[in-house]
């Protein structure tokens, strides 16, 4: 299953792209996605430890399942206002 991850702020600068595509196994969870992100993009390791993962614009936990076609966002610590 392919998962698209949209990137913001420092994570986007680190990768030089505003999204990336991950190749993942069957019935993946957010926890699986985090591991795949570090494996396939080790340059994200430092910021990833501080990031939340949004699935379909909602904050997730590691157990949250990923469905085909869902929108995943990598959310560094926010600083709006």
């Amino acid at each position: 299953m392919k998962v698209n991850v949209v990137l913001f702020a420092q994570a986007r600068d680190v990768l030089g792209a505003d999204q990336l595509q991950l190749e993942m196994g069957d019935r993946p969870t957010v926890g699986d996605l985090k591991r795949a992100l570090v494996e396939q993009h080790p340059e994200l390791q430092e910021i990833l430890g501080h990031c939340s993962i949004a699935v379909d614009q909602e904050y997730s936990i590691d157990e949250t399942p990923l469905r085909n076609g869902c929108e995943v966002g990598l959310i560094p610590p926010v600083s709006g206002g």
Binding site: V6, A9, I47, E58, P76, V78, G80, G81
Partner: protein, 143 residues
């Protein structure tokens, strides 16, 4: 009303919009780009935004505030993109029958916004250095 815009925020219009004959208290908070952070001089801020999620979270914050306090109206506007020093990046306007709830609600809205709404600030310093502000994460700068 919730808005994420790339142009100047019209704060006065926002305050006028929450006016209600049954409200005695009208509160407008405007967050502006500060020139100095410690000794460093900021020339502008750039705001990045996960737009669909930010709009959803702002709407949730607004709905929760209206449920929690007897507010007459709540308007939240966040500007994204480039925001020069002195310009407004955030405006929150609330109205309520009495002032205590207007103050409490406005503070809660801003605190919660700064915790959960996916918007990110990049400081552009007067020496050209740019730094994303990611509270809790170690800063990394880029040209």
């Amino acid at each position: 009303m919730i808005e994420i815009i790339e142009s100047k925020i019209d704060s006065a219009a926002l305050l006028a919009a929450v006016n209600d004959p049954d409200a005695g208290a009208n509160l407008l908070f405007v967050g502006t780009t500060r020139r100095l952070t410690g000794q460093q001089e900021t020339s502008q801020l750039n705001y990045d935004c996960y737009r669909e999620m930010a709009a959803k979270k702002l709407a949730e914050i607004r709905a929760q505030a209206m449920e929690r306090w007897p507010l007459k109206a709540v308007h939240i506007v966040h500007r994204v993109g480039d925001v020069p020093v002195g310009a407004a990046s955030l405006a929150v306007a609330v109205s309520s029958p009495h002032r205590a709830e207007a103050f409490q609600a406005a503070q809660w809205i801003i605190d919660t916004l700064k915790e959960i709404v996916p918007i990110w600030k990049q400081e552009v310093f007067s020496d050209g250095k740019k730094v994303w502000v990611h509270p809790g994460a170690s800063p990394s700068s880029s040209q």
